[in-house]
């Protein structure tokens, strides 16, 4: 494939992004998707919690304490995934000037921060029975804390620049730089011998955990993922309304509601 046709491909992609990336279109799309996402989330949470709390047997070592895993692990995973998503959105917005991507990135930040905070809190609660202390300066724990600070920094930077475009671009650079931390969190348990559990779920090998624990874990993880998508739609819609408050379509919308 020559340079030219690749260029044409990229151009077409950008055009596509711009077409469906129009805030008004996305507002409508997200509006129809939200109820579906929300009901899926509820379904997954209810079944996941049922299976995790009643169906799965107690662990032979940890007793029932391990059940905090069904909250801790999905949140820990989501904290990293949300960061990568935020960085990708931010990069798209920065490179191709797509406003919708800026908004998606901004909406992701507080969600990711709360996933991170939940992972930190549940992790330390779990740490007390497991390691005998709430907190150690272990590599995984520290890098997860760093992730939290990155989210906070991102939000602080957004908040202190009042030109929305400049705010988006400046924080995009920070988000992109911070991505380095994500592999560090993941591999920290291999690179340094630490207290924290290494991966028990990998794509390439047999899972090292009982199927009875695995099923609720997967369901809960999917639940948190759809929870993220639901909240993302909601937050994005309100941010779009605020930014476009001076446009005709929002005015009409507001008039038709009131």
């Amino acid at each position: 494939m020559g340079k030219f046709s690749r260029l044409a491909c990229v151009t077409r992609l950008i055009k596509l992004i711009h077409k469906y990336g129009a805030p008004k279109r996305f507002y409508e799309l997200a509006g129809t998707l939200t109820p579906w996402f929300a009901s899926l989330t509820t379904l997954l949470f209810v079944s996941g919690l049922y299976l995790g709390l009643y169906w799965a047997p107690p662990d032979y070592q940890q007793g029932n304490a391990y059940r905090i895993m069904f909250v801790h692990v999905p949140n820990a995973w989501m904290s990293m995934m949300a960061y990568v998503a935020m960085a990708l959105f931010a990069a798209t917005g920065y490179i191709w000037n797509v406003r919708l991507a800026d908004i998606l990135a901004k909406a992701t930040a507080p969600l990711g921060a709360s996933f991170t905070l939940t992972a930190l809190v549940t992790g330390s609660l779990w740490g007390k029975p497991m390691w005998g202390t709430y907190w150690v300066w272990d590599a995984r724990l520290t890098s997860e804390l760093v992730l939290f600070f990155l989210y906070v920094g991102y939000m602080a930077l957004q908040a202190s620049i009042d030109d929305p475009r400049r705010a988006a671009h400046a924080s995009a650079i920070l988000a992109i730089v911070g991505v380095v931390n994500v592999p560090i969190i993941h591999y920290s348990v291999y690179w340094w011998h630490t207290l924290h559990q290494p991966a028990s779920l990998t794509l390439t090998s047999q899972p090292k955990i009982y199927i009875t624990m695995l099923i609720p874990l997967i369901i809960m993880s999917l639940g948190f993922m759809f929870f993220y998508l639901t909240m993302l739609c909601v937050r994005t819609r309100s941010e779009i309304l605020w930014r476009e408050r001076r446009t005709d379509w929002v005015r009409k919308l507001v008039e038709s509601r009131s």
Binding site: N97, D162, D163, P164, R165, R243, R246
Partner: protein
């Protein structure tokens, strides 16, 4: 007819959530100068900064020798000299050092303009050459910023209120400097509220492209 050297098409700029101007078009060719006019707060500074690539406009294209300035990148900035509201002088260095370092950092090999002594003499700062720039008076600082134009020898001059703080004699001498620049095929974009005398300069009313109130 060949393309104009500098062509702007359909330019729109936004500050905060207000569109300052939209759909602005302008062409400037070798030897031409344009006086951008408009009341305070219209968006003249914003326009100039977009034109020399310091800020990304939200819409429109700016072409230099037929190519987009965003594609040219450093090859465009290598041909522009910008004097803004701020003088861009290091108060800690002497006047001569300021110019000498500017010419080192900002000129590609073989493109240097006048030496710094000549340039300082031209703007009437010969006596202040070895004084720290921070001790200069307001008008002397402005002259030093303008001396950079002579040292750099760039084809496109973008000047934002260059006459600020200049005394009467200096205003005249700057006008004739711009005249000489035009005569040697240079281009100039000038924003100024102050009247100045320069034959052949074209007026450009920014207000034509502004829809909203300030």
């Amino acid at each position: 007819m060949s393309d104009p050297l500098f062509a702007v098409h359909g330019l729109s700029c936004v500050r905060g959530d207000r569109t300052l101007f939209a759909g602005l078009s302008l062409t400037v060719d070798a030897g031409e100068a344009v006086h951008v006019r408009g009341p305070n707060g219209l968006g003249k500074t914003t326009l100039l900064r977009a034109l020399c690539g310091l800020s990304r406009p939200i819409r429109g294209e700016i072409r230099w020798r037929g190519e987009r300035i965003s594609d040219l990148a450093e090859d465009f900035t290598a041909e522009v000299a910008y004097v803004g509201h701020l003088n861009g002088i290091q108060g800690e260095l002497t006047a001569a050092e300021n110019l000498r370092l500017a010419s080192r950092v900002f000129t590609r090999a073989g493109h240097a303009g006048q030496g710094e002594d000549e340039a300082l003499a031209r703007v009437g700062l010969r006596a202040q050459a070895d004084r720290p720039a921070r001790h200069l008076s307001q008008g002397q600082k402005r002259r030093l910023a303008l001396a950079r134009l002579l040292v750099l020898r760039r084809p496109l001059w973008v000047l934002d209120e260059p006459f600020t703080a200049l005394d009467v004699a200096s205003v005249t001498s700057l006008s004739s400097l711009i005249g000489e620049h035009m005569a040697t095929g240079g281009l100039a974009l000038v924003v100024s509220h102050q009247a100045f005398d320069l034959p052949g300069i074209r007026d450009f009313e920014l207000a034509r492209y502004c829809r909203t109130r300030r």
